[in-house]
């Protein structure tokens, strides 16, 4: 699987790597057991600081999306067809979703517009 990064974006590179991998899992392009490139490989393939990749992988690991073992390297452990989220993770997702919807509401979008936003995003995940 390939991902795109925008080095000029206001979102830091580690965040972009993190987000693209989460989206890959959500879309079913990354499945449980799928190996990911090592930190050194990924840094070399993108020509970016290995520390950036470490930061992205650390965050993904803390969120329970990936796992790193000395034997099989970094692999995906989450899967869109197998619920793995802990209560703690669900709380975090609820908080993030609230902030995202609050941003839209603060821009003046009403309840119907918010519903349309959510429906459009869900449609992209399960067309």
């Amino acid at each position: 699987m390939e991902i795109e990064l925008d080095p000029t974006s206001s979102a830091p590179l580690y965040q972009q790597i993190h987000d693209r991998i989460v989206e890959g899992i959500a879309l079913g392009r990354l499945r449980r057991g799928q190996p990911l490139a090592s930190v050194r490989q990924l840094a070399g393939w993108f020509g970016i600081n290995p520390g950036t990749v470490v930061k992205a992988y650390d965050q993904l690991r803390a969120e329970g999306f990936i796992e790193t073992t000395p034997k099989s390297g970094t692999t995906v452990v989450a899967d869109r067809d197998h619920p793995t989220a802990t209560d703690e993770r669900l709380d975090a997702v609820r908080a993030e979703l609230f902030t995202v919807l609050a941003t839209a509401r603060a821009h003046g979008l009403d309840a119907a517009a918010l519903d349309a936003l959510v429906a459009a995003a869900r449609e992209r995940l399960d067309p």
Binding site: T8, G44, P50
Partner: protein, 365 residues
């Protein structure tokens, strides 16, 4: 003019001609979105400022090249000046490159060319991603067979070889240095040839395995096709260079056994050097065909990374862990000067270049 100086002149002119062609074709061999090493969005490829700068650069390369060839033949009685003309030409062409790119940099800054453009780089995140184009194995195998065959023939003919053994020939094909015949002196050249074949094949394996970010240049699919085609062209050319070099060494070895007359040997050597330059010329022409000149920009642009390319020619990026990166101007790879080993390697190359200019003078004193 003696036959020897004439032969030297022909070989030197071939080499200088290849350098002139390579420098003149740099804009054609580079990605279309880095004219003279300046990042521009895909919709500016055909901008009048860009076109004028590239035209001026090509003209400067050709005029300087013509002067260098005239100078080379005018001073042919002092063959040590050959390297000076070639190096001098390279310096002049590089200065022209650095100077003539300025108008593009200024126009880009003044017009804010990247405003409103989406930029991206893409690369795989899974290790099963396909790498680049692999080596052209039949050619490397042929080169290895030629080199091993030459070594075997030389070893089998040990008793027939002269003692002392010719160790070096002047360009006219006359032996100018001898050494005593031992197994080491007889087999050193064939062994070197076999090592060279293996080293070039190893370089091709390394090139085929490496993964570099895809710079979309406004059209990711087109950019990928061009990236693959350029890799293919380089792999095939390096395969042929390997065969031609092994054959050249084979001819040198065969001459020890057969001992052709000086003029025949010298003609074979000129043909051999020409045969090595043929794959290089083919590579240049084939790669030049891949470059597009139309300004399409439906996809994301490649990021403006001028900050990492001082002068548009050298690469300096502390964040990038790679020692080598694809060249921005022309084909092949260049060194990341911010890499700890990169600086040492570059210093070594500069020393080697200076030596190549100074040693011929020291030897002719």
């Amino acid at each position: 003019m003696t036959t020897e100086t004439f032969v030297i002149g022909i070989i030197a002119a071939l080499a200088l001609g290849a350098v002139i062609a390579a420098m003149t074709l740099v804009p054609t061999l580079s990605r279309p979105t880095v004219p003279l090493g300046v990042s521009v969005p895909a919709d500016r490829i055909a901008d009048p400022v860009v076109r004028t700068a590239v035209r001026r650069y090509r003209r400067a390369c050709l005029i300087a090249g013509a002067l260098a060839v005239i100078g080379l033949f005018a001073t042919l009685d002092h063959p040590a000046t050959i390297v000076i003309w070639t190096l001098g030409y390279l310096i002049v062409a590089t200065v022209a490159f650095a100077a003539l790119r300025r108008p593009i940099v200024d126009a880009k800054r003044a017009g804010d060319w990247y405003a409103g453009h989406r930029v991206a780089v893409s690369a795989p995140i899974t290790p099963d991603a396909p790498g680049g184009v692999g080596p052209t194995w039949p050619l490397h195998l042929a080169a290895l067979l030629v080199a091993l065959g030459a070594a075997g023939w030389t070893a089998a003919s040990f008793d027939r070889l002269p003692d002392p053994l010719p160790a070096h020939w002047g360009a006219g094909g006359v032996v100018d240095r001898w050494e005593p015949k031992t197994w080491a002196s007889v087999l050193s050249m064939p062994a070197f040839s076999v090592l060279m074949v293996v080293a070039v094949a190893a370089l091709c394996v390394w090139m085929g395995r490496r993964v570099d970010p895809l710079l979309p240049d406004g059209d990711p699919e087109q950019a990928r096709r061009e990236q693959i085609r350029k890799q293919h062209v380089m792999q095939v050319a390096l395969g042929w260079i390997n065969v031609a070099t092994a054959a050249l060494f084979g001819v040198l070895g065969a001459n020890l056994i057969v001992q052709w007359p000086a003029d025949v040997f010298s003609a074979i050597m000129v043909a051999g050097v020409a045969a090595v330059t043929v794959p290089v010329i083919w590579m240049t022409m084939a790669a030049a065909r891949t470059s597009r000149t139309d300004a399409t920009s439906d996809g994301p642009d490649s990021p403006d990374d001028d900050a990492h390319w001082p002068g548009g020619l050298v690469y300096y990026n502390r964040e990038d862990p790679r020692l080598n990166v694809p060249k921005r101007a022309g084909l092949g790879y260049t060194i990341n000067l911010a890499h700890p080993a990169g600086l040492a390697l570059s210093a070594l190359l500069v020393v080697a270049l200076i030596c190549s200019a100074v040693v011929p003078f020291a030897l002719t004193r």
